[in-house]
Structure formats: structure tokens, C-alpha cells
Amino acid sequence: MMCDTVKDSVARCHDRRAVARERVILAQAALSDCRLCPQNCGIDRLAGETGWCRAGATARVFCAQVEVGEEPELIPTFAIAFSGCDMRCAFCITGQDSWNPQRGGVFDARSIAGKAAAALEAGARTVTIRGGEPTIHLPEAIRLVAALPSRARLVWKTNAYMTSQARALLDGLFDVWVADYKFGNDSCAKRLAAIVDYQRPVQETLLWAGARTELIVRHLLMPGHVDCCWEPVACWMARNLPAAKISLRCGFWPAWKARQHPELRGPVGAADIQRALEIAQCYKVQFIE
């Protein structure tokens, strides 16, 4: 006889797939007046128009493989990376693929779901959907959720730069949200990622996700941005989401167009890391590892 917890879990997973099948229709319709990200382009992607992110109606994938570089509680994970993004981070480590939604192969939900199922069978603990930014390909991402095995523990890896419409379409579909909080102020976001209004939508997303699901907030420590970016992030997290898990990533490297910015021409130094840890201690930040 199944215990209640297992029965609840099974029921939830079956519900999730059913909900996902319905949401695909809504998400597809949303492309005709695309406002999935705060750029609010309002263009008809189904008619071939493209906006800020340059994504059309067809989603492409540039990476689908088992990975072990994520937070320990998530690995090994079968990670699927959609091409294209709604941000333009100069230091993006997958810049070629993330800035160009035409990169990679055409996404096929059934094929990818089959690979994910094989990986789960072989010992993967989670399935991670990421990008680029998967939010701009919401219909196909949700189609994948509907096709994945019901037992799969699903991770939504996002830059958190999305609208309430996108969040509503994602509600209840993922077990864990891994969300970036990259910049501690709008000025750095504008200069390094070409985003004018960064803080508001990202903070809204973090609060929303923190209230609904398991949330891991990532901050990539950038050289020279400890006081302007990490400190405000740590402060805001301590005040608004004290229970959320924080993953401070110190592995910055000067990828893509990072060298256009003088302070981003090298890795994070020991002094920056030490200062970041002092800030974390000051705000009583609880790191995930």
C-alpha cells in the first residue's frame, strides 16, 4: 500500500503533466503578442516578427547533456539549454548561443524527453531546463514538462527577468527554481547587460518563486562588483528572502564580450572573494555549499 506522501507525489506529478498540456496552448497563444519578458515587445512571433530577444516561434537547443557542475543537491542533472536570451550580459559564458536563438538544433520535446528519461534511469536526480533564457521559449519548455516522466524532479533555471504573465504560465510546474540575481543595481545591469529596468522584475520573480517553490538564488561574483552588486543582493535577500538558499559562484571568467569592460578582464581575485565572504557574514547569508 502506498503511503500518503507517495500517493500525493504521484497525484501531483500526474496533475503537473495535465496542467502543462493545457498551459502549452496558453503559452503558444501568448507568442502572438509577446510580453513574456519585461521588454514587453508586443510583437507577433507566430507571424514571424521578432523583438528584443530575436526569438521566433521555433525554439532551438544548443546543449542537452548530463552535468554535475550545479549545486550538489541537484546533480547529476540532465540539462537542456534553449538558444537565445532576453538579456545581453557581456560576460555570458555561453554568449554565442545565448545571444542567438538560431544556434543549435531544432527543439523536439519528445526526443529530448526520451534522452532525459534515459538519464534519469541511469541515475540523474533532476532535469534542468535553462538557456540562454528558457522563458522566451515558454511554449516549448512547457511542452517538454508535459512529455517528461512524471517522477522527474524538475528544475527551472532562469535569469528571473520575466513578467507576471510568464510566471503565471510556469506556476506549479517545477520543483525547484534556480534564479540568478546578477546585479545589485540598475546601473550595472544597464552597462553590462543592456537592461534598463532590472531590479523590479527580478525582485518580483524572486519573491514570487520563494513563496511557491524551493528557491535557490545564484549570484555570480564579478571582479570589481562586490560592493555595488553582491552587497545589495545579500542585503535584499537577508531582508526579503532570509530562508532562501544562496549560491555564490566565484568561478567568473572573462567570457564573450567581458573584455570590453576593464574590470571584467580577469577572474575574481582572492581579495574580492574575501570581501564577499565578509559581506555574507555581515548579513548572515546561508550559502548552499
Binding site: 537547443v61 546543449c63 547533456q65 552535468e67 546533480i75 543549435g104 568561478g251 571568467w253
Partner: protein
């Protein structure tokens, strides 16, 4: 000296496999899109790295495609 990025380009026939490592001049190695196979390689370089040992875990060969292998095999 500029750091060197070693990149395995995505193979779209496999719907993509991609991983990168960056070897810094001070000897540190940074990894991105770390696969079990690469974790096993990095563990060989530093067998005392317990965190890397946890990541170099065994996965079924077929699920990972031909670029992957069983760590420790």
C-alpha cells in the same frame, strides 16, 4: 599570458554536448557545463578534491552519448 579556453563545440546531431574549462595562469582550473567525464579528468589532476570526487559519479554510458564515459572506468 592570456588564459586559454578549451571548448568542445556543441554537436547538434546529439542535440548538443558542450563543456569548457579555463586554465588560469595561477594554476586554477575553472569549469563550465561540467560533465561527469570532465569531472573525472579534473579529479585525476587533483585526487584529493573531495568535491570533485562527488561530481565524478557513475552514469550510464548510453544516457550520455559517446562523449561521456563512466567515471573510474
Amino acid at each position: 599570458m592570456k588564459p586559454t579556453i578549451h571548448r568542445r563545440e556543441p554537436n547538434t546531431a546529439l542535440m548538443g554536448t558542450s563543456e569548457e574549462i579555463l586554465i588560469l595562469t595561477d594554476g586554477r582550473i575553472l569549469a563550465h557545463n561540467l560533465t561527469p567525464a570532465m569531472a573525472a579528468v579534473l579529479l585525476e589532476l587533483n585526487p584529493n578534491d573531495e568535491r570533485m570526487r562527488q561530481r565524478a559519479m557513475v552514469m550510464d554510458e548510453e544516457s550520455n552519448g559517446p562523449h561521456e564515459f563512466r567515471a573510474g572506468s
